[in-house]
């Protein structure tokens, strides 16, 4: 098998002392970046690009060390975002937003921060390693499939993501729909992505740049949660003893073993979504959260949003798998699968490496070294996370009057640092108050954020599809100008089915209750 000798070469490269040290340093930096809210993997890799240039200068013949540093940051950030999501209800990374729904409740309401963290780390490691194996074996064929995805197929994938959100959380599907539409509307603020005409800006220059999802998310989840918990608990802060050790690890392994099938499916789905250009880990985590909920048993589903283990396992495994997957089209085709992959690609250009199919033949050791760094980096990140978790969990014991200003200031910093713009800080505060109120009124917040994140891409694929078909909407059912696309048709049918599912369930439930009423009347 060619793959094994290639991988052996890769491990030999990645385990060279200098390269290995760079991976370790990168993972450590990535964990810190992941833990800091608002400072994401993308901005982290971008900020540290100059540092990696300095590393590359130490060894101009071989830029592998520099790329290992950047890739290490990415692998670390995939894990680090977990911590703030679970302990503070502030997403450290966009792809950790889905962890808020069950991770935080498990840490706070069920009082199991250690288990919540180890569950996320362990499933993240599983996702990364499985994705690394998929990466090694299917690198070339998979990228060829993804390359054939057009607007119709991508639009159907986005629709699937939205469909799984309707009736997410046990609330009313109507409220989910209202929130999805609100998110799409917020995403549309600014310039039209296709024609460039301004819309919904109301003559305000600040609004032309659009409404970013990071300030909105930090507001809805970070500030909103602080306000909600202040009303519930006042100024006394819940102190959660962070028991963490082998017991938590064993318990999380047990939980994971019970859900191995679901985990495997979500990892593979996550990996493939990551491979699709322009998507990355964030939609993958949301989609698999929805999928996990949709396919959970009756009892489990009622537990979603209240600290259900599957609600932590599925999105984290998918996010890590997608993070790994997003590098695949970058390396094989030169098409970055995610914003972070795009920044790493910029790094490759700086060192004179042209991403694309030729990279596999011209720089074999480098490419396979990068692939081996996925295995090594993920393992290092996991070990670091596991041993540092008691430290992370002890943050929860800090008194209210100290931790609250720190969280508020961190939220403001996170919102500000994205674009160095005070407007974003204002957005965070406005959405903080809004999130507090919507939560009270039992509106689900996740659909709003997901729609805001995916809104632009969804519209772009919709309009691109219509442009390619000269305005004929049949293109989304697979009838493209170049012939019938069974993939687009199948994906669209699945998406439509998922949308109708809550309705069908509602009708069935009504019919059942009516039948039961009739039966009880008859027995009387």
């Amino acid at each position: 098998m060619q793959v094994f000798s290639d991988l052996a070469l890769g491990f030999a490269t990645a385990l060279e002392p200098f390269v290995f040290a760079m991976i370790v340093a990168g993972v450590f930096l990535g964990l810190i970046i992941g833990i800091l809210p608002g400072l994401g993997g993308t901005s982290g890799v971008a900020i540290l690009l100059p540092v990696s240039l300095f590393v590359a200068q130490q060894n101009p013949q071989d830029p592998t060390g520099a790329v290992a540093l950047l890739a290490g940051i990415y692998w670390g950030a995939l894990f680090g975002g977990v911590v703030t999501s679970i302990l503070f209800n502030i997403p450290g990374e966009p792809w950790s937003v889905a962890l808020l729904f069950d991770g935080f409740p498990m840490a706070k309401r069920l009082g199991q921060p250690g288990l919540a963290l180890t569950l996320a780390f362990t499933s993240g490691l599983f996702g990364s390693l499985v994705a690394a194996v998929l990466f090694s074996f299917f690198a070339v064929p998979l990228s060829e499939i993804a390359l054939r995805f057009g607007p119709a197929e991508l639009f159907a994938v986005f629709m699937m993501a939205f469909a799984t959100l309707v009736g997410l959380e046990s609330g009313s599907p109507l409220k989910s729909i209202a929130m999805i539409m609100f998110g799409l509307l917020l995403a549309a603020v600014g310039f039209d992505t296709i024609t460039g005409e301004p819309r919904l800006a109301f003559g305000q220059i600040g609004l032309l740049s659009g409404i970013g999802f990071i300030p909105v998310t930090i507001g809805l989840f970070g500030i909103g949660e602080i306000l909600a918990s202040a009303e519930e608990a006042g100024t006394s802060y819940e102190r959660i003893a962070a028991r963490l050790g082998l017991r938590d690890l064993l318990e999380s392994l047990r939980q994971i073993r019970r859900r191995l099938g679901m985990l495997g499916v979500n990892t593979i789905v996550g990996f493939f979504i990551g491979v699709l250009p322009g998507t990355g880990a964030t939609p993958a985590s949301f989609l698999s959260y929805g999928v996990a909920r949709q396919y959970a048993g009756e009892k489990e589903r009622a537990n979603f949003g209240k600290g259900e283990p599957a609600g932590i396992i599925a999105p984290q495994a998918a996010a890590n798998a997608a993070g790994v997957g997003s590098l695949l089209p970058m390396i094989t085709l030169g098409v970055p699968g995610s914003p972070t992959a795009a920044v790493i690609m910029a790094g490759l250009f700086v060192w004179g490496l042209n991403p694309g199919p030729l990279l596999f033949t011209e720089h074999r050791a480098f490419v396979w070294g990068l692939i081996a760094s996925i295995y090594i980096g993920s393992l290092i990140a996991f070990v670091m996370c596991f041993f540092a978790t008691p430290l992370f969990a002890s943050i929860m014991r800090v008194p209210y009057a100290v931790i609250t200003p720190i969280i508020v200031l961190a939220s403001i910093l996170g919102a500000y640092a994205v674009n160095n713009d005070m407007k974003d800080v204002g957005i965070t505060i406005v959405f903080g108050v809004m999130g507090y109120w919507l939560r009270k009124m039992k509106y689900p917040l996740a659909p709003l954020v997901v729609a805001l994140v995916l809104g632009d891409s969804t519209e772009r694929e919709l309009r691109k599809g219509l442009i390619s078909s000269f305005g004929n909407p049949a293109v989304f059912l697979g009838f493209t100008e170049s012939g019938f696309s069974p993939v687009a048709a199948a994906l669209s049918v699945i998406a439509i089915g998922l949308f109708l599912l809550p309705l069908v369930q509602y009708v069935l439930r009504r019919r059942r209750t009516r039948a039961e009423e009739l039966a009880s009347e008859l027995t009387e």
Binding site: A178, T195, E197, A401, L409
Partner: protein, 161 residues
């Protein structure tokens, strides 16, 4: 609960109505061939807002016709006080940050408020918190990550913050 639910739905309808009004020119597909793919920029937000307002109207209707829990919206009076005590300083913090105090001075004031008024710590602990939080932020953001935060009006007078 009912009046609050209906008021929330009404605000959602209002937001949607403003958006629909702003994008009304692109509401219908363009058959003249002038727009790429037959859709103008307003189509997508217009119909998102339309669906949003329909959903909110149905929510309001259902709130009227179905029984609502008798419990109030807020936990108790004290709970509202806690929330207001958190929101008002936060708004003050952001306004002062924009002008004239910048990040570091307003963060120090904000931390001091928590230490003295909420935590009621002894003065040396409170003073330590007031100083340490902005200093730690400075080291992290400006030194480690090379991100400049908003400065106060005193910055031009030669002060470092």
């Amino acid at each position: 609960m009912r009046p609050y639910q209906i008021a929330t739905a009404a605000v959602i309808v209002l937001i949607a109505a403003v958006a629909m009004f702003d994008t009304r020119s692109g509401a219908l597909p363009d058959t003249s061939g002038g727009a790429p793919g037959g859709l103008r920029g307003g189509w997508y937000p217009f119909w998102s807002a339309t669906v949003m307002s329909i959903a909110a109207l149905v929510i309001a209707y259902r709130t009227l016709v179905t029984p609502q829990p008798a419990s109030g919206v807020f936990k108790d009076r004290q709970g509202v006080v806690y929330v207001v005590r958190l929101v008002l300083p936060m708004i003050a913090l952001v306004l002062l940050m924009a002008w004239p105090l910048g990040f570091y001075l307003s963060a120090a004031l904000y931390s001091a408020w928590f230490a003295f008024a909420v935590g009621r710590y002894r003065w040396h602990w409170a003073a330590a918190m007031t100083v340490l939080i902005p200093v730690a932020t400075y080291l992290l953001m400006e030194i480690a990550f090379k991100t400049a935060l908003p400065r106060s009006i005193f910055f031009t007078m030669g002060l470092p913050f």
